[in-house]
């Protein structure tokens, strides 16, 4: 037993211990209560909050891109579709030595240095199981090369997606447009939530104009992930809603015929259905392959397109501004009739030139020796300039401006693709504003023959011609005819394309100018008399020739580098058949010489095709 301690008081010590034990018990009880209160707070009072956090932790919502709507022509040919695209991706965790694999893959499927450093950078930033794209949009050959060697590259796998493809390539580049990667600028104009999964967006043409219809709605899948972010399973899936298909009013056969007829000369052709405003052909030549832009165009390719003197990226049909020349004469004539400045039978003496009363300056006719006595019909058929110098002088710029404006000059037609130019319809007010100069009487004269300041796009010319063809009815030109929505194709209500008509005090005056336009192609002395030879139908047209030298003074700077050889632009507007017009065209051949030689035969070719029995001929959109 222990040595007896000095003066140990067992009773006192026991009592002390019991008191301390009581304190200890109380403290422990207090501690347990605190723990319980904390757990009640966490598990009962804050339960909902933590449940949310727990869900957020384990569930990730991943967007699924919607397939883009397909674009068809009016005859059902695919103009823009989605094609499976294959990309080669790598994940570090699948390989023991990814760098070695990448090096030997580089010999098989080389990528440039910039791409390689992007690939290696991304690999460093993501987690080991996350995939990084090595090369996007593999060709079939590249796909095959990888497939037979894939056993050597365990880290690499093929992933499929959808990429936009334009099967008809260049032919529709300026009408359908193209898609490209979403840029910073695009982001400003879209709802980013709707585009979370989308990589491409319409950049031009119908692709851009109908972006909201074509895009569709993103789908979502909810996946369960672990703390490292690896996807373990799909919990829930909301499939994407595909974009709506769009049917254009363009006729593929007509489009191809128009391109063929241009024979690779620079120019533009627009064909409209005057009854509906639907665009039947929309050609700007030269064009480019829109497929180049889908995967991100290579710098060299882009520079070649941008710097080409023929300017393939420039949409001449929509944005090209040309002096309309004589193609507006029938409208000036109509203004003369309606304002009773001219009677149809009244003649003007044409000696080959015209001078203003107080001036020595001679405004020349294209026919040096003159046309002699010219009435209205002859003035259009022969395209007599002197008649229109005199008429313009009698009308004055204000009335002429007013009437040409009714046919859409100087304003955008409102076609359903972006980027349209508005041309230029000059007036004294415009000249004061733009040039701080007074309007000279001589400028009225040359405006009367579509020269001087006046500029019009091919689309505007086709639009004005269709108004003439239609007896004043105005239809807004449009490329999109129908939009498929939820499986059903619904035609767009025709009336949305109606505009207030051009009304005449005497509507028989339409016939007067149409008869004159018929004379242009069918008459013995018409400026385009050769082009109608042998036609099975009657049509009406008007030639025009725009002096390139003249345009150099006053066009937007973009156009100045254009023609090296300064031959005239040949223009021709026409519609057919005369009695029930169903097609109106405007043709411009840059530096093609006179309209009658260069442009009129092209319109004839289009009409021939359009009125041929194509149900027999059939069509395969190659």
């Amino acid at each position: 037993m222990a040595k007896l301690p000095t003066l140990k008081d067992a009773e006192l010590e026991s009592a002390l211990f019991r008191r301390r034990l009581l304190v200890g018990v109380s403290a422990m009880l207090f501690g347990i209560v605190i723990l319980l209160l904390r757990l009640v707070f966490l598990q009962v009072l804050s339960h909902d909050h933590f449940t949310t956090l727990s869900h957020d932790n384990r569930l990730r919502v991943l967007p699924i891109p919607p397939p883009r709507g397909v674009i068809y022509s009016r005859d059902g040919v695919v103009l823009a579709e989605n094609r499976p695209s294959f990309s080669l991706v790598a994940a570090a965790e699948r390989s023991a030595d990814l760098m070695k694999e990448t090096a030997s893959l580089g010999e098989l499927l080389p990528i440039d240095d910039a791409e390689r450093s992007r690939f290696e950078d991304q690999l460093k930033r993501v987690r080991r199981f996350e995939e990084v794209t090595y090369k996007a949009d593999l060709s079939h050959q590249e796909l095959a090369v990888f497939a037979v060697n894939s056993h050597r590259f365990p880290a690499f796998q093929i992933r499929t997606g959808l990429a936009r493809h334009y099967p008809l390539g260049e032919a529709f580049a300026h009408a359908v447009g193209y898609v490209g990667r979403i840029s910073e600028r695009d982001l400003a104009s879209i709802d980013e939530n709707a585009y979370v999964a989308t990589t491409h967006i319409g950049k031009s043409g119908v692709e851009r104009a109908r972006e909201n219809v074509l895009h569709g709605e993103a789908g979502f899948q909810t996946v369960e992930v672990n703390a490292q972010g690896r996807i373990l399973r799909v919990v829930d899936r909301t499939p994407p809603i595909a974009g709506n298909d769009v049917y254009l009013s363009i006729d593929v056969a007509l489009q191809h015929e128009a391109i063929a007829a241009l024979e690779d000369r620079d120019g533009a052709i627009v064909a409209l259905d005057p009854n509906s405003g639907g665009v039947l052909a929309f050609v700007s030549n030269p064009a480019f392959d829109p497929n180049l832009f889908v995967g991100g165009i290579a710098k060299d390719d882009y520079q070649a397109l941008r710097d080409s003197p023929r300017r393939p990226l420039f949409n001449r049909a929509l944005q090209g501004q040309y002096p309309p020349g004589s193609t507006i004469k029938m409208m000036v004539a109509l203004a003369g009739l309606e304002t009773q400045v001219r009677e149809p039978a009244a003649t003007t003496w044409c000696p080959g030139w015209y001078s203003l009363p107080d001036s020595e300056h001679r405004y020349r006719d294209w026919l040096k020796d003159g046309h002699g006595h010219v009435d209205l019909k002859t003035s259009i058929a022969r395209s007599c300039d002197v008649y229109y110098y005199a008429l313009a002088n009698d009308l004055g710029i204000a009335r002429m401006h007013e009437w040409l404006r009714r046919f859409g000059f100087g304003q955008r037609t409102g076609i359903d693709v972006p980027g349209e130019s508005q041309g230029l319809l000059p007036s004294p007010a415009w000249k004061r504003r733009q040039k701080q100069e007074a309007w000279f009487p001589g400028e009225t004269l040359i405006t009367g023959i579509g020269q001087g300041f006046m500029l019009a796009t091919p689309l505007q010319l086709a639009y004005a011609t269709s108004i003439v063809a239609n007896g004043g009815q105005v239809r807004i030109p449009h490329l999109v005819d129908q939009i498929e929505s939820s499986g059903a194709v619904e035609p767009i209500d025709a009336e949305v394309y109606f505009r207030p008509p051009v009304t005449l005090e005497d509507s028989s005056r339409w016939q007067v100018i149409v008869d004159a336009m018929v004379e242009v192609v069918h008459g013995d002395r018409g400026t385009a008399r050769g082009s109608a030879h042998g036609a099975q139908f009657r049509y009406a047209g008007k030639t025009g020739t725009a002096q390139v030298v003249g345009i150099a003074q006053d066009v937007d700077p973009d156009d100045q580098e254009l023609p090296e050889h300064l031959q005239d632009h040949g223009l021709f507007v026409a519609f057919a058949p005369v009695d029930f017009p169903s097609i109106a065209v405007a043709v411009i051949v840059e530096n093609g010489g006179s309209g009658s030689r260069a442009a009129a035969p092209i319109a004839r070719r289009l009409f021939d095709l359009y009125f041929s029995d194509r149900s027999v001929a059939g069509f395969a959109g190659d």
């Binding site: 034990l21 422990m28 598990q43 992930v225």
Partner: protein, 357 residues
């Protein structure tokens, strides 16, 4: 000695907690039979140690305590120079088994302090108190140096509890507390960076949600999202998707809370309370001062385990490496705790019918 010394109420409560532990460990280890087997073997070994110690008389334990203490100190010094371990030197490789000498001190310190105090008049006056503090301080300092703050806290507090139950004067406790608080800013500079970070993180875990705060945030989410009834056994998303760190060891309580909810927590705390109550009864009924002090100190230390671990998992205390007793996966502390219960049983069952004064 014909009689087999065992305390059935204590054994029963321990077995209840062990069973709950195996159930939740199965889930926390992603249903690893291997883990479960290893843990069961440790439990069996722990129970064996417990029952062996229950057969030893308290007097024997009291006699051997200072010797064990000295050996323990020696081993701690050896560990400091030759120990192994990934980030801290805690382990001693004894050829066949590897063990942490610091675990031995969890028992040796209170036993030695108690044995010493039984030799002096109680309440201990200044000199005795000072000697007791030295007995506590040497091993605690050596363990902090490893560094193993959690174990050091447990070792130190087990010694302090003996002093407390021996009746050290309140005045002394108060003064010591004031000195301690005044020294705290200096102690701050002695802490390792990671230890400082843990304390800072406690006050604002969101300041570094993916770094040091991550453990606390994720375990709190696990606890809170368990709710009243829990997500169900094996269904804890926080745990099974690896958001909860150390989910089989120090943070196993988060798994338990997530899967069994507040209801399960109440059951577990009730089982723990049974052990504590039984220990307190043993302490209160002990015949000799040594037994009283040891029983009370062991129970209080057991409570500290629970309080610190749960406080840490539920985001109230800094993250220190203290396991949830009898439940966390891992060997040494389980055996130490069981050994402590063996001593409790020994105190309760070796009664002398004739008081020897």
């Amino acid at each position: 000695m014909a009689r087999f010394h065992v305390d059935l109420p204590l054994l029963g409560a321990v077995l209840v907690v062990c069973s709950l532990g195996l159930v939740v460990l199965f889930s926390a280890s992603d249903q690893s039979a291997d883990t479960l087997t290893k843990q069961s073997i440790r439990m069996a070994f722990g129970l064996f140690v417990m029952l062996v110690l229950a057969q030893v008389t308290p007097q024997t334990i009291q006699r051997w305590a200072p010797g064990v203490y000295v050996i323990g100190i020696a081993m701690l010094v050896v560990v400091l120079f030759f120990g192994t371990g990934r980030s801290a030197q805690r382990w001693l490789d004894a050829g066949v088994v590897r063990f942490q000498p610091s675990e031995i001190m969890k028992l040796a310190v209170p036993l030695t302090v108690a044995a010493f105090l039984c030799e002096v008049r109680l309440p201990p006056h200044l000199r005795a108190t000072f000697i007791a503090l030295v007995i506590i301080g040497i091993p605690a300092a050596l363990i902090v140096k490893q560094p193993d703050l959690g174990t050091a806290i447990l070792v130190a507090s087990s010694g302090f509890f003996v002093l407390f139950f021996a009746g050290v004067r309140w005045r002394f406790i108060r003064n010591a507390s004031i000195v301690g608080l005044a020294a705290a800013p200096f102690a701050w500079f002695l802490l390792h960076d990671y230890q400082r970070q843990r304390i800072l993180t406690l006050f604002d875990p969101t300041q570094d949600p993916l770094g040091a705060g991550y453990h606390i945030i994720q375990s709190t989410i696990a606890v809170g999202s368990g709710g009243l009834y829990g997500k169900g056994w094996l269904n804890g998303t926080q745990s099974h998707l690896e958001f909860v760190p150390e989910r089989a060891t120090d943070f196993i309580f988060a798994v338990y809370c997530e899967e069994f909810g507040l209801l399960g927590v109440v059951v577990l705390l009730a089982a723990y309370s049974l052990i504590i109550l039984r220990g307190l009864v043993i302490a209160a009924n002990a015949q000799e001062m040594f037994g009283r002090l040891i029983a009370a100190s062991l129970v209080a230390t057991f409570f500290v385990y629970i309080f610190v671990n749960i406080g840490m998992v539920s985001g109230q205390l800094p993250v220190v490496g203290i396991p949830l007793p009898l439940i966390s996966y891992g060997g040494t502390s389980m055996v130490t705790i069981m050994a402590g219960f063996g001593i409790l049983m020994s105190i309760n069952t070796h009664r002398r019918f004739i008081s020897s004064i």
